[in-house]
Subunit: 344 residues, 2 copies
């Protein structure tokens, strides 16, 4: 049995779902992978929950909200780096903050700090990866630790697993993805007759779209994902500024429905395609018409999917995978297992 | 740079495609994964090609056929086990024979011998895995070596990668697959109006079906794959006798076409589904009606696909992946890379 020390940064929906999944899977992780996970600390902007032993949810939150005032496990001003240093190398940071897409913070500092302390990192947040993935990857290699990103690249849909593991040895010649469930839901409902405003409103009422839906509908969530996937799978170093982005707000219901009558569909498609200049890629997010025979044509509602075109393996498509906080938590857990498990 | 000694057993279509892919990817493997692959021997039933150094295709074959008589690299009676012992542990067996589904031979002896010599094994042949996967897996664990099966479980379609790696930590609650390209091609063409005999004949004329198509059309190829996938992903120990198998020969064109008119399709579906008795699975291969919304509904022609139903990750489907000898060779190469590559 291997005991793995963890520090969880952030305690929003994903952090909470991770705790609950970890508890649900406790016996299973021991039996199937020989792993016991101990959360030593949960970091917030102003300090850490820390009790000197494995933390339980009841020590962190009351009524679902972080519980600081009067909590014997709350240490204002305590830093993650200190906990990592005290614990020694070999643990894993579980990055669940809402990191900024321009500065990468606070995730960037957390992950960098973990690597310097000899810890691995698994990330559900995108900021640090959008801003500095190549540098983080180089630092991880230098320190001999893992950086795993499943939680930040479409959660339970295994985009990077396929791109990096299942396609090992193949040359990727193009990537196409439906990477955002909210916009795919809205476009699917528009195909069924709702106009954009109605479909968005319904998605908000059902908790699929955020009250401020801009990050999804303007295409930036999709752009962040195709950027991270491209940089990781193609060893590239693009930034968000290199992605041509058009969201779905300008898509008319007539356009979606006439496509549908012709047996086609409109999807917010993210693509990475090779430029004429060898080794250069063009990154693009925009509402696109796809044929009924396209491998992503059946990806409807909140589902997501990705297609890789390769030289030696043909085209490989993966679809599905839960995309709610539980799906993101499952992706984090998977990455942790794949860092520590015995050979399989 | 890590130099990996290989022994290839069998030199049929897949073995030849593996050689040609290895040569094509030589520089790429060095640059991307730091690996150099050296084939030390190619084994046939009556002896080995062996020259004391890395073998080239021209030393093994003339005009595409194995070249024994008068060949300075041909050693009649030479055994794979002797080459492995002489080389020492750490190499990899590349199993490409046509192994028997009842005895598992010759693959079973080759793989067992490799493990006893401290070698890993990657397999494109199914016999040994159908007959004795759990025992082979236990032996591999005991010897601290890898047994990888991508080439035997739908080639470039990453069935086991998803089941074992991408779904780590999730509980698999069901598996459904279209795992044989030949039968899927025939059923697809029947949907387009051909009767069974016409569709089969066309598949044979196009090199998709074998001159003796029984292994495919009677469902045994599909049964072997769902069996190996189930045993590997669910830690089970079923045999071919546990799989209920019905092939496609009795499927009428009327049935396929009336399904199509209703927006459904007929697929040779392999399923593993939980029995009421906890921990027991029911394995089944039969022509099945699936709805247009089923994630495998769009898998047509020689394409394949697999869907995993899980507790924490929802349903995850992977489709596509080249299934010709080049695809199988790419799957073998991927498994070798994933055994030896540095952490990623």
């Amino acid at each position: 049995m291997k005991t793995v020390p963890l520090v969880v940064t952030g305690f929003g929906n994903v952090g909470r779902a991770f705790f609950s999944l970890m508890r649900e899977k406790k016996e299973d992780l021991k039996r199937r992978y020989g792993l016991a996970l101990d959360v030593l600390a949960v970091a917030q902007a102003e300090g850490c929950f820390y009790s000197g032993g494995p933390l339980e949810v009841r020590q962190i939150s009351q009524g679902g909200e972080p519980w600081t005032s009067g909590n014997p496990s709350w240490r204002a001003e305590m830093k993650v780096a200190d906990i990592i240093e005290e614990t020694g190398p070999g643990g894993c940071l579980v990055e669940c903050t809402l990191s900024n897409l321009e500065t990468g913070e606070p995730g960037l500092s957390y992950i960098t700090g973990a690597f310097h302390g000899g810890w691995h990192a698994v990330a559900a947040s995108k900021g640090a990866l959008v801003v500095g993935f190549p540098a983080l990857k180089a630092l991880a290699a230098e320190k001999g630790v893992f950086l795993k990103l499943s939680g930040a690249t479409a959660a339970a849909l295994p985009t990077l697993d396929v791109g990096l593991f299942s396609l090992a040895g193949a040359r990727i010649e193009g990537i196409q993805g439906i990477l955002n469930g909210t916009t795919n839901y809205i476009l699917t409902r528009m195909g069924e007759g709702l106009d954009y405003a109605e479909a968005l409103q319904e998605a908000q009422a059902r908790g699929i779209a955020e009250p401020d839906p801009a990050h999804d509908v303007d295409g930036w969530d999709t752009a962040s994902k195709i950027l991270i996937i491209t940089n990781a799978c193609l060893d590239a170093d693009y930034g968000l500024k290199d992605v041509q982005v058009r969201g779905i707000a300008g898509v008319s219901v007539d356009f979606v429905q006439s496509a549908r009558r012709e047996g086609r569909s409109v999807k917010l498609l993210a693509t990475a395609s090779p430029k004429r200049q060898a080794g250069k890629w063009s990154l693009d997010v925009r509402p696109s018409l796809i044929e009924a025979t396209h491998p992503l044509a059946n990806v409807n509602g909140t589902e997501k999917g990705i297609t890789f075109l390769t030289d030696s393996m043909g085209s490989v498509t993966v679809t599905g995978g839960r995309s709610n906080p539980r799906g993101a938590a499952a992706a984090l857990l998977k990455d942790i297992i794949n860092i520590y498990r015995p050979a399989f």
